[in-house]
């Protein structure tokens, strides 16, 4: 009886260990997949950030700002003597 219990225990333990090993590997692949998806998302967001940075930079173009200020807002450049310290 003891011998049978030992064999049963031995086989069960091995089955559990094999299951755990397979489970570990599945988890690893799952996490690796998630990580790669996140990396892909980061790459997409970085690309988007780059595009937005370029657009922002284009909006900050000094020549355009100057034209807008002078034509639309009717602003004029001022001389140093017009500036007073309060």
């Amino acid at each position: 009886m003891k011998k049978n219990s030992f064999i049963t225990f031995f086989i069960t333990a091995h089955i559990i260990l094999i299951f755990l090993q397979v489970h570990k590997h599945t988890l690893f692949i799952k996490n690796s997949y998630n990580q790669q998806q996140c990396e892909k998302k980061i790459a997409l967001l970085t690309e988007k950030k780059q595009t937005l940075t370029q657009e922002l930079s284009a909006l900050k173009d000094r020549e355009n700002i100057k034209k807008y200020a002078q034509n639309k807002l009717k602003m004029r450049p001022y001389a140093l003597k017009q500036v007073k310290k309060l």
């Binding site: 692949i29 690796s32 930079s57």
Partner: protein, 546 residues
């Protein structure tokens, strides 16, 4: 019945035995005999080595809020010449829209890959997309975009493969580009994108950003002033440099004409140079300041000493003819500089002799400034052993010595602080920068020369550079250009160099204009108004209000 059964069993037995034997042989062939071949095949399917190039570090101005160079993806179009499905249609399309590729196609028709064009314009991308030709592929490639064109001779640009070619992009290519990382990926045979395992075999480095000492806003404001001057005088070239004399930081650097770095293929190669650093000139009278500081330091003259300027436009010293623009009689040494009299400075320089050479050397002429910029010119300072009788006279008012505008700016930094200054373009760099501890000139000499320069601005040749409420110390120079071994009075360069001061605030400004088309004009009408305009813009920008 039993015999029949045995016979059939034997056949089945031998059939399966043969089958297993075949499987066994096959396994032997695959696993043992052709082991290396199949292992290699499997490795090719399951193991991939990739090299990831990091994105290039951006370049910022001194505020850190403005990009001077940023990354931008460009689109390239390519074909696979050996795998064209509709060759006739593809070639017809290429002939119509990209005719230059036809010749290349004839040469590369047996190749597996050929670029149609890299860095496509939005219009070209639209044409390709409209065509919907399955033989034409689009590819995204990293590239650079430069928002401030006026900084292009300084920032430089990258090649089509995103490697630094000129300027800062070349100088700091390793820092900006980083190092590629090599990874080993374990994948299944079918998945093209995902992998099981990733192993880094060569650890790379990211592309580090760079922060320059340049102020993008001030650069833009100064560029406007330069452009106005160039248009007004129809000049061939112009340049402005603003430096902080206390730490050697270059705040603004304009070399006009500059190229459009985003369309560099259309630019003239001459405009790629940062002429402030790469071109040396004989700058004329602006160098009188350097002769004067040498004379004052050596004690061969005092500011009040009366110098006989012969009251003539032409005179002879040691049999050498000296011309000056305006005749003056006996005037104090201060006025010799303020009124820019060639005869007066030549008389004083004669007293200095070869010591003038030592002082010019001390001020950095004839040697590199240590800015470590590609193509820096050392200029030329005629060595004493090559001197003729004319040399001491010529050197006193800026001939026989050619210097870069950066060297002149550094010399004025020395006048402003008394220390030798190493110019720098990189903010918070570890490289040695700023003022040297050792003072090159005594305080008395520095104070006297500053007073002389202030008087030059108040009533001398640089009158128009005066700004009420600020101490402006400047000197002008108009020099004939040396063309084919002869000085051409029709072609001149105009310079104004000075220091703008308000309490502890100090900036050195150099303005330079080359070959203005109008005749009989001097630096006082060309370079000095530009100096004043630049100084005003700078003071407003820096909110230095009196």
């Amino acid at each position: 019945m039993i015999q029949n059964f045995r016979f059939r069993s034997t056949i089945i037995f031998f059939f399966f035995t043969t089958l297993y034997a075949l499987v066994g042989i096959n396994l032997y062939v695959i696993q043992i005999k052709h082991h290396d071949f199949y292992k290699k095949l499997a490795d090719q399917q399951y193991h991939v080595t990739i090299t990831q190039t990091p994105s290039r570090g951006p370049i910022f101005d001194r505020t850190g809020g403005h990009y001077l160079a940023m990354n931008k993806d460009y689109i390239a179009a390519f074909i696979l010449p050996t795998q064209l499905t509709d060759k006739k249609r593809t070639l017809h399309f290429l002939k119509k829209h990209f005719p230059h590729t036809i010749k290349r196609f004839a040469k590369n028709k047996d190749k597996h890959f050929m670029f149609i064009k890299r860095r496509l314009s939005p219009e070209e991308i639209a044409i390709i997309n409209e065509e919907k030709n399955p033989d034409i592929f689009l590819l995204s490639e990293p590239g650079r975009y430069y928002p401030l064109a006026s900084a292009s001779p300084l920032i430089g640009l990258t090649s089509i493969d995103n490697k630094g070619l000129l300027g800062i992009e070349l100088l700091y290519n390793n820092t900006l580009a980083g190092k590629p990382t090599t990874c080993h990926l374990e994948k299944d045979a079918r998945s093209g994108y995902y992998y099981f395992k990733k192993e880094t075999t060569v650890q790379g480095d990211i592309g580090h950003p760079l922060q320059l000492t340049i102020d993008a806003d001030l650069q833009f404001l100064v560029q406007e002033a330069v452009q106005q001057t160039v248009e007004k005088f129809n000049a061939k070239e112009a340049a402005v440099i603003i430096m902080n004399p206390h730490n050697g930081e270059i705040v603004t650097m304009i070399s006009y004409p500059y190229f459009d770095p985003n369309n560099a293929h259309t630019a003239s190669s001459d405009n790629f140079k940062n002429k402030i650093i790469t071109d040396a000139h004989e700058l004329g009278s602006v160098m009188k300041v350097c002769a004067a500081i040498a004379a004052l330091e050596e004690g061969v003259v005092t500011a009040d000493e009366l110098i006989d300027c012969k009251n003539s436009l032409t005179t002879q010293i040691d049999g050498r003819i000296i011309n000056t623009v305006q005749a003056h009689g006996t005037i104090p040494f201060t006025d010799v500089i303020a009124l820019s009299n060639n005869i007066g400075i030549a008389i004083v320089a004669k007293r200095l002799g070869t010591k003038l050479y030592d002082h010019y050397k001390q001020l950095g002429f004839g040697s590199k400034t240590n800015i470590k910029f590609p193509g820096e010119n050392t200029g030329y300072l005629n060595p004493v052993e090559n001197w003729s009788k004319q040399s001491i006279i010529s050197l006193s008012y800026g001939y026989e010595v050619s210097i870069t505008l950066l060297q002149l700016a550094c010399a004025f930094c020395t006048i402003a602080t008394g220390h030798k200054v190493i110019p720098t373009l990189i903010l918070n760099s570890s490289a040695p920068k700023g003022a040297d501890d050792k003072k090159l000139y005594s305080d008395a000499t520095l104070n006297t020369i500053k007073e002389i320069l202030e008087k030059t601005t108040l009533y001398g040749t640089a009158r128009r550079a005066a700004i009420r409420g600020y101490r402006v110390m400047s000197k002008t120079g108009t020099a004939n250009m040396l063309i084919d071994g002869k000085y051409n009075p029709e072609k001149n360069i105009y310079t104004c160099a000075g220091i703008v001061e308000k309490d502890t605030y100090q900036r050195v400004i150099i303005t330079f204009v080359k070959e203005a088309q109008q005749k009989d004009i001097y630096a006082s009408t060309v370079a000095v108004p530009l100096f004043e305009s630049v100084a005003e813009r700078m003071l407003i920008h820096d909110t230095i209000i009196s």
